[in-house]
């Protein structure tokens, strides 16, 4: 993209900011994405950060394009590092095509790997001149705005919007900082050193910026969620925070429990009494809820679990990403009972599937999982504003009669659910094996009936499953298989390689599998798994359920998400090494 002195970006560019925790990279990201969206650009941004509050090196990558983007690149076009450690932190992603803007002292000294173009830019220096090094991020934000020729009025308005109430006294100086940054960028653009010609699209005005956590939260609200109890744990906390923010507005009870066990049991209690309740948690926290998942199984209680995956075992890498909890969720809880596992790959997926999780849980009276991961939760997309429709979801409960029996045996295994205090009946639920009334029993015949009743639900649950999505030709010989958050990344990589006969089968529901799954898998001569874990957990599930495994596995478990260009390379390596076999 650098042509004879001038660096030109026509369709898209990937911009990375990096620096210490607590130095405001996140504000730059928020401000820059808002401004870029204002200017009609499509933005996808994602971050990786350490498990610490200050110091260390974190980075945020913003991909800006003239058409929708929903995945990120390993390659960096423009890098703005706030200190030298940060620069070194992303050094593997640099190439001669990369342009680095940074304070002079960040660029000097040790050699910079990858031979990038370096352009000194006084971010910190300007901030210090304005009286505080903390304005550095504002100077950088202004600089980005300038690069994209965003006018200074819009810039100033957005900055001012960030400093209201108690903080309004800080508005002026921050506007000034941004302005100075913008000025430097314009000067550079004016001088012809760089040209950013990524046109805006007016349609983007009806779009929203949304991150994974918000999408899950909106889905929950749309699903009628009115009770959340959880214990903080990265990366799931973001959903708890979202729900807490909206609690008063939408009438949601949000309670931080003393531990995960309490959270999960509160949620079961809440459903019992007539709420639509959810926990949001991550690996180790979810592991503590397993007995309670079994409780939901036995009580036939609806339960929605948002499980934001991070690398394990144990504490692992608390702020990193992985698709490592599939087995954990799939086999959680002791005893045998149905469950559903959904795995969104896009914000629209997350809204739709989380909303659906509530109606499925309510309908089948079983646990439903929404499996996301740190990557998904912390990434942000530009998407069309979702439409929710006018009809509020209805809770499937009945007014009980005097002879109400909570566990009445029915063909499909579903018994009408009553709640205490509505109707003349009594609602009796029991974690022991129980009879139709809900009272404890040790009758062996009743036991068998109840096991069969619970498992009978699978028939309908399977019919109701989300079909996997096929991208590419129907008459594929090679089938790439992905699930959850990797979907958009794999999709773009596949588009880029344009290899004939290769399609992608992407799963938004990982369990139970849609009945057509074996057919899809069976048609392929060669199957390639793409998973963010070390043991190909979804492949194992496919093999157990359909008999079809995969010959090739592309697995990643270093704590980071796949990127499009990385996958393109893997697909190409794969082709070479396996041609003709």
């Amino acid at each position: 993209m650098s042509q004879g002195g001038i660096v030109r970006f026509e369709d898209e560019l990937t911009l990375t900011l990096c620096g210490e925790a607590g130095h405001g990279i996140q504000s730059v990201e928020l401000l820059a994405t808002a401004l870029l969206k204002d200017s009609g650009r499509y933005v996808f941004s994602t971050k990786e950060f350490m498990s610490r509050i200050r110091g260390g090196s974190n980075s945020t990558t913003i991909r800006v394009a003239s058409r929708p983007v929903d995945a990120s690149l390993y390659r960096i076009d423009i890098l703005i590092p706030f200190d030298r450690a940060a620069l070194d932190h992303v050094r593997r992603r640099l190439s001669p095509e990369t342009v680095i803007f940074a304070d002079e002292d960040t660029l000097t000294g040790k050699e910079i790997p990858g031979n990038p173009v370096t352009i000194p830019m006084p971010f910190r220096k300007t901030a210090e001149e304005l009286g505080n090094v903390l304005y550095t991020n504002m100077v950088a934000s202004g600089f980005i705005a300038g690069l994209f020729s965003i006018d200074e009025k819009t810039l100033a308005a957005r900055v001012r919007g960030m400093f209201t109430g108690e903080r309004s006294s800080l508005a002026d100086v921050n506007v000034e900082a941004a302005r100075k940054g913008s000025e430097s960028a314009r000067r550079l653009v004016g001088a012809g050193g760089i040209a950013v010609e990524i046109p805006g699209d007016p349609a983007v005005h009806d779009y929203i910026s949304i991150n994974g956590a918000e999408a899950v939260g909106l889905g929950a609200l749309a699903g009628g969620c009115d009770f959340v109890s959880s214990y903080p744990m990265s990366p799931s906390t973001a959903v708890l925070v979202f729900m807490a923010e909206k609690a008063d507005q939408f009438g949601v009870i949000v309670e931080q429990a003393e531990d995960e066990i309490s959270a999960a049991n509160m949620v079961i209690g809440a459903w019992y009494a007539g709420a639509r309740a959810m926990v949001t948690t991550s690996g180790g926290g979810f592991a503590l809820m397993e007995e309670t998942v079994g409780l939901a199984g036995m009580l036939e209680s609806p339960l929605v679990v948002h499980l934001a995956q991070r690398p394990g075992p144990a504490t692992g890498l608390p702020t990193r990403t992985e698709q490592g909890d599939l087995n954990l969720a799939l086999y959680s809880g002791h005893g045998e009972f149905p469950r559903i596992l959904l795995a969104p790959g896009t914000p629209l997926d997350a809204i739709e599937l989380t909303q659906k999780a509530f109606s499925l849980a309510d309908l089948y009276q079983i646990p439903v999982f929404v499996l996301t991961d740190q990557y998904f939760i912390d990434s942000s997309w530009t998407i069309p504003a979702p439409r929710f429709g006018e009809n509020a979801p209805r809770l499937r409960i009945v007014e009980t009669k005097g002879d109400y029996r909570r566990y009445r045996l029915t063909d499909e295994g579903i018994s009408p659910r009553g709640v205490p205090g509505w109707g003349e009946g009594l609602v009796v639920v029991d974690s022991d094996e129980h009879d139709e009334e809900g009272h404890i029993t040790e009758n062996h015949g009743v036991r068998v009936d109840m096991v069969d009743k619970r498992l009978a639900k699978y028939a309908a649950v399977r019919q109701d499953a989300q079909a996997p999505e096929l991208y590419g030709p129907e008459d594929y010989d090679t089938l790439i298989i992905s699930w959850g958050s990797t979907g958009p990344i794999v999709r773009e990589a596949l588009r880029r390689i344009r290899r004939p006969g290769t399609s992608l089968l992407h799963f938004r529901q990982v369990y139970p599998l849609h009945p057509k799954t074996p057919e899809y898998l069976g048609k392929a001569r060669r199957r390639v798994m793409v998973e963010g874990n070390a043991t190909a957990q979804f492949e194992r599930l496919l093999r157990a359920e359909t008999g079809y495994g995969a010959r090739d596995r592309i697995l990643k478990y270093d704590g980071l998400q796949f990127t499009v260009d990385e996958l393109v390379q893997k697909f190409e390596e794969l082709d070479e090494s396996e041609v003709g076999k």
Partner: protein, 288 residues
């Protein structure tokens, strides 16, 4: 006592003949009847153990959950439908052992529920191991050298956490027990009633006779509004005082602090999501 509104008629009760649980069951039914609770508005929440079977022996709504986990479920049930009377009732192992953390933190929330604990100083259902309240020296198949830990003191801990109602009763004194239960259920806020309950099968140390000998009423001069006095009494362990140790009125209850019932007292199952508001929320995020 077999004709009250909470009676189940002739059912098979799994307790041992002579067990202190029978007295507690009967007394509780009588107390609830006296207060005028309706079975359809009562939810009995329990864990697992002998005591925890009590909800099955009463005509009412039942949430018989996991061992140790009655309090979180009870707190949530009350929060979701404050019109219900919610009682969390289980054994000493259940509430103070497996459920110890919930005991600590449920108190802090001060939900308007009653927490009744059958304290037989032993694990009954699992056949006689020590419970957190077992006294020093109690020998069991697992505690072969006798219990060496300091017994858990539920009343002192509850007072230390400023529980708003803290009482101890004895299954062998149904009259005063009924009085305590009436007060506890009527109390607005979290109320703990620890009930000394002889287990005739597995606790040969703390029998009806032993409890009679080793308990005493709190003096009528006892001031239940003074936490330090309450604590002093709670630390007395021979004889064990009976009665209301501590009571505080007027503290906000959990359900109130949620802000959800300020404008409407409808339980959650009668409410609907405001979809228009939700649409406004996302529309507000566009550039329009």
């Amino acid at each position: 006592m077999n004709s009250g509104r909470f009676d189940m008629g002739s059912i098979d009760v799994a307790w041992c003949p002579g067990c202190g649980n029978f007295a507690i069951l009967n007394t509780l039914k009588a107390a609830l009847e006296e207060i005028g609770i309706t079975p359809t508005k009562l939810v009995m929440v329990s864990g697992i153990g002998q005591a925890a079977k009590i909800p099955h022996y009463m005509k009412c709504n039942v949430f018989n959950g996991l061992h140790g986990r009655a309090l979180p479920a009870a707190t949530a049930i009350k929060a979701v439908n404050p019109g219900l009377t919610v009682i969390a009732e289980s054994g000493d192992g259940d509430m103070y052992g497996e459920g110890g953390n919930h005991f600590l933190h449920a108190i802090r929330r001060n939900p308007d529920i009653t927490n009744i604990v059958h304290n037989n100083m032993v694990y009954g259902l699992t056949k006689g191991q020590a419970s957190p309240t077992s006294r020093r020296g109690f020998v069991t198949p697992v505690q072969v050298r006798g219990v060496s830990e300091e017994p858990f003191n539920p009343l002192a801990v509850a007072i230390a956490q400023k529980a708003t109602f803290v009482a101890r009763g004895f299954a062998g004194d149904q009259e005063r027990l009924k009085e305590l239960l009436v007060r506890a259920v009527s109390h607005r806020g979290y109320a703990l009633v620890d009930i000394l309950q002889p287990c005739v099968s597995f606790n040969k140390l703390n029998t009806f006779a032993w409890f009679r000998e080793h308990t005493v009423s709190l003096p009528s001069s006892h001031d239940p509004t003074d936490p330090v006095e309450a604590f002093r009494r709670a630390m007395e362990d021979d004889p064990l005082p009976l009665g209301v140790f501590y009571e505080e009125t007027g503290r906000p209850i959990f359900e109130e602090t949620l802000g959800l019932y300020e404008r409407s007292d409808l339980p959650l199952f009668r409410r609907e999501r405001n979809m228009a508001e939700l649409q406004r929320l996302v529309d507000g995020k566009t550039g329009r």
